[in-house]
Subunit: 451 residues, 2 copies
């Protein structure tokens, strides 16, 4: 009987909204400080835009919208008899809910190519939907916060994005490690061990190194058809140690015969050099096992982990060379990052890092002592609001005690009382709910206290 | 080949986002100033929550989401053979997209009744989706901005909401008329003409008075089964004139035999009296033909029209006595309003009322003269950003002219040049793009100019 919401979705109360808006506003401010501009795209995209972009599994996880009106018209009944779900879906549904912000962004760039100034720096903060099995920390509706620049292959974009990441987490007070890699280094490694066409298999397998350990990775590599020699050749490359600069020096030697690999090393060196000279709060780490499972990265790969909370990556991104090719606009290089708002929310909660002043209710509650008193109160509230002080009137003239406990439970810091005697003097009694202190004051003097 | 988006949906460019955010931020600030607190609900609701709440037509206009996985399992094949679309829909789909913010809010209140402090003042700014036929000014995805207070039947809530509306449009610079009515007056009228059970028919018909004129309304009333006597008796009531106060006085006499009608007059008088004594910028109008076609209003009915643009209502609302009853929680009275962001956007565009400083791109573009110069520029940008000045680097070291025209087309007001000679002095050449003026300056002095 009690109403509920679909599993994997959430309601957000005022207290949760205050915390979430703190995160979104922080990210939004920094995006803007770095010259990124906002866009928004529709929640619904044509399925032709979405299908085939996230792999076979992704296609299944798209939420599809049943066509309006006579949705059975033109549907091939044989598909129903044969339970041909996938084909049937494309006849029943033309639209789906957006699955991430990257594909809609690529579609946006191609569709509006003639109105856009390139290089185009955009940010986008919107929810996405995935029909994943809900579990702790994984939702079917969640927000992504993406910043991308397209139409430039300069490494200064990577340098800027690393600074942007650093500034967001500095403002949030979260200590982080930024892990860096370059897809070209992975390609160089595949080349070096004589399995250049196996780069995707190698990438997918070694991406799991942290989770499943080297032995299981080797088993998976063997399963994916890598020779024992190749697996042996891979081992020393995956266990290079030292500072990022030391690792790059060692990699540079190991990959010297691979042109692609060397280019990857050079790119990372340039990015690292610039970022070091600018100075970051974050710790930097070079991690050649970092691949982020995504096949579309072609250059830098970036991942951020919180230092003080054991949770997956809280931000990630990288460079892609052909984001818009699939929509008929080839040769547009780009680089972007995506902040995971929900995990950042969990980290801030775990570490209790929210500013104490966050709950943004009214500054003052006017008690309601009757209709004349209410109008007199509203006169005063009008003056307070004109100066930016949020104020509300308890709407019903119920017992004082009930009204006071309402102020208390809502954490409203001041209560104003305008009774007969106050009305006669055109004043209010202002009570500080923290200290209990009461003052009889004009609205002008109250302003001083409340501002 | 060129990608597109579903009809009735929109992409928003940075320039459009700036305008839309101006509207949303204005409304949000005023909501907050009046003590309303934000909540958010999921885009998807269970269809059991949504169906039957918007009438038969509304049920059809809901976007439904195809069940994930084997959506044919358990589906009654006979329904397919019989083209029983409506029953089939409920087997194929468990979830739908939210159609407005009111029903999700009612569901929220019931679901979280034990955590909520009543009276509960909440606002909600989120998109809604309707499978309406798209036309000029009507979209399939659009934002609603709602503020409601539930758990109080005090008329001070109406008074507060009218002030809130007034303040929003004052800030936006839109001159408005606020039309007021009360459902109890409509009920009184129906009682008076001896057709109390026909109130819904009367309401629906006279709501069209402005659009189709009195004759067509009378024809419709006859069609809906009203006697000629009743229609004659209705005429004088619908053409009462004078100031709102004068109209109320006349209505008070006409409706004196109807208890409900008299109560409606008294309520409006109290609201009007309080609002007048507080002072509004908006013009007030009493319109007994105002019904807003919604059957759930039980008291005050509010509608806002722009004075200087011929467009439908740009805000509306009213009191309802049993919002949550349908979810098993009776007796919760509430009153709310909803701002139509898209129409307000159109009005502001038509009247060209946006602040000139709205486009919020970077304050300064650093030209890129090579990689050493770029790093030197980024050092300076870091100092500017630390003081809140948004800055960006043109990422590629292409021709100056191209970089300058990028700054121009993006309306970036300042360009900074850090070449070899500037680097030697640790300075920049700062160019004001409006005046063409150039200055050689330190970053500290540049800050003064840019802040």
């Amino acid at each position: 009987m009690k109403p509920s919401i679909p599993k994997g979705t959430r309601d957000f109360s005022p207290a949760e909204m205050a915390r979430r808006n703190y995160i979104f506003n922080t990210i939004r401010s920094v995006f803007s400080l770095f010259g990124y501009q906002p866009i928004e795209t529709p929640a619904m995209e044509n399925l032709s835009t979405l299908m085939g972009k996230y792999g076979e599994e992704g296609d299944k996880l798209l939420f599809k919208i049943l066509n309006s009106g006579d949705f059975l018209r033109g549907v091939d009944r044989e598909l129903i008899d044969n339970n041909a779900l996938s084909k049937l879906t494309s006849q029943l549904c033309e639209k789906g809910l957006r699955y991430d912000l990257t594909v809609p962004f690529a579609r946006f760039v191609v569709q509006h190519r003639n109105e856009i100034q390139f290089p185009f720096k955009r940010y986008q903060i919107q929810p996405v939907w995935r029909a994943d099995r809900p579990q702790k920390g994984r939702y079917r509706e969640f927000y992504q916060c993406d910043a991308d620049v397209v139409g430039s292959d300069s490494l200064s974009n990577e340098v800027e994005l690393l600074q942007l990441i650093d500034e967001v987490f500095r403002r949030l007070g979260i200590r982080i490690v930024i892990k860096l890699n370059n897809r070209k280094i992975l390609a160089g490694i595949a080349e070096l061990i004589g399995e250049p066409e196996k780069i995707v298999d190698i990438t997918v397998a070694i991406d799991k190194l942290d989770k499943i350990g080297p032995e299981a990775v080797n088993a998976e590599l063997a399963e994916r058809g890598l020779s024992a020699d190749a697996i042996d050749a891979l081992a020393p490359l995956l266990s290079i140690d030292g500072s990022p600069e030391e690792r790059l020096d060692k990699l540079s030697v190991l990959l010297s015969t691979s042109e692609t690999g060397s280019k990857g090393v050079d790119e990372l060196r340039e990015i690292l050099g610039a970022v070091r000279s600018l100075g970051l709060h974050a710790e930097l780490d070079l991690d050649v096992s970092l691949a982020r499972g995504l096949n579309y990265y072609t250059g830098a790969i970036i991942e951020v982990k919180a230092k003080d909370v054991a949770i997956g990556s809280i931000t990630g991104g990288g460079r892609y060379d052909n984001l818009t090719g699939v929509f008929g606009m080839p040769g547009v290089s780009g680089v972007g990052i995506s902040f995971g708002a929900d995990r950042i929310y969990d980290v801030l909660n775990t570490l209790d890092l929210y500013p104490s002043s966050l709950l943004s209710g009214s500054k003052v509650l006017f008690l309601n002592l009757g209709s004349n008193e209410a109008v007199a109160s509203m006169q005063m509230m009008k003056k307070l609001r004109a100066e930016g002080v949020s104020a509300e009137l308890y709407p019903d003239a119920v017992k004082m005690k009930k009204q006071m406990s309402y102020a208390d439970s809502r954490s409203i810091p001041f209560v104003a009382i305008v009774g007969e005697s106050e009305m006669a003097e055109n004043k209010m009694t202002l009570k500080n709910m923290m200290t209990g202190e009461q003052t009889l004051t004009t609205v002008e003097n109250a302003l001083e206290l409340l501002k």
